[in-house]
């Protein structure tokens, strides 16, 4: 079967987009998001490749690379939500910047603790640095710094899923009730996956969360090269 897949130029594209759409169809049917399409598509693609004994290369050449090709322009378009929410950012500029900066600092301190605690190797430690930020920026950053982009992706997804599920309970636990602060907390800690949950809490939460994604992403890009030196 692997030979058959290898002869196709569309196998990887169909497998990725098909499994992604399948997850979306399930969510539509249930009336809410019961499974993350990215996670579901990843698991299904991995399962198909493993069970049919098909190499990742075959999948990548027959569609994977086409999807990845669009990732840079798509990430650039994050400027659109940033532009739309600039008024909100301006009004609370201090809180947005200080909150996101403190979040990034806490995250970097956590990574440094992992480096010492588990005696991690340089590339493994670097892999963790982009963990809290949106996958599109995180993947590129991991690559630039010399980490393992694939593992960074897995860590980011784990973070997002956990954040999306646990955010309401955690916000209650820490008594974070200000809508703007709730949104920033979710966006800074669990990026787009968390934001999908923030949108359910309210409009301000949703806007603040997507704002925090971009601000945290940019701050992490600036801070990560410095912290990467610790692992070198």
């Amino acid at each position: 079967m692997s030979d058959l897949f290898a002869s196709s130029a569309f196998f990887g594209l169909l497998l990725s987009a098909g499994s992604f759409e399948l997850a979306r169809a399930v969510n539509r049917r249930m009336g809410r998001e019961v499974c993350s399409p990215l996670l579901f598509a990843t698991l299904l693609c991995c399962a198909v490749l493993l069970l049919s004994g098909t190499d990742y290369e075959i999948y990548y050449e027959s569609g994977g690379k086409m999807l990845e090709y669009l990732l840079t322009p798509a990430t650039i378009c994050l400027a659109i939500p940033l532009y739309r929410q600039f008024a909100l950012m301006r009004k609370h500029a201090g809180a947005v910047l200080a909150g996101c900066l403190a979040g990034v600092a806490a995250h970097m301190a956590g990574c440094a603790a992992m480096l010492v605690l588990f005696r991690m190797e340089g590339p493994e430690y670097i892999t963790l640095l982009p963990k809290s930020i949106t996958t599109a920026i995180g993947k590129g950053l991991s690559q630039e710094l010399g980490g393992y982009p694939a593992i960074t992706m897995v860590t980011i997804m784990l973070t997002g899923l956990f954040g999306a599920v646990a955010a309401p309970a955690l916000l209650r636990l820490f008594r974070i009730t200000e809508p703007m602060a709730q949104g920033l907390a979710i966006g800074a800690s669990s990026h787009a996956a968390g934001t999908s949950r923030a949108v359910e809490l309210g409009d301000i939460q949703g806007a603040a969360s997507s704002l925090a994604i971009v601000v945290t992403g940019l701050l992490t890009v600036a801070a990560a090269p410095l912290f990467a030196k610790l692992g070198g």
């Binding site: 990725s16 990742y56 994977g64 659109i80 403190a102 979040g103 590129g140 200000e178 602060a181």
Partner: protein, 120 residues
């Protein structure tokens, strides 16, 4: 054909970002230069939101799908992830809780302090 024009504009910004990346020797992905460049173009009014909005929103909506190949590539790194499973799990859970608490509490404190000041 308005979609084609929008796609051309976004491709041009992407190309400009790659040129910046080529000349600036920093470990920053080209997409970040492009993000800042596009934001500057919108903010300065050189580009209008309508000139890129349809294709831009389409790309943003597609983003999770565009990330599928990169996360499937975990298949090529299975031995490495076994080695670092514990730190990944600790950061995934405890790290996320810590960041959420720190960001939320600090920004809440700052917003409330500002609110009290404006009430006085």
């Amino acid at each position: 054909m308005r979609y084609l024009l929008q796609a051309v504009i976004i491709a041009a910004v992407t190309f400009a970002a790659e040129i910046i990346k080529y000349f600036v020797p920093l470990p920053v992905p080209a997409s970040i230069y492009g993000l800042l460049l596009l934001f500057a173009l919108l903010k300065s009014g050189i580009l209008k939101l309508e000139q890129i909005e349809d294709v831009g929103n389409l790309l943003l909506e597609l983003m999770p799908l565009l990330l599928v190949p990169a996360s499937v590539s975990v298949l090529t790194a299975l031995d490495t992830i076994q080695r670092m499973l514990l730190p990944v799990l600790v950061m995934g859970f405890l790290g996320t809780i810590a960041v959420m608490a720190v960001t939320g509490l600090l920004s809440q404190w700052m917003i409330r302090r500002k609110g009290e000041k404006s009430h006085e």
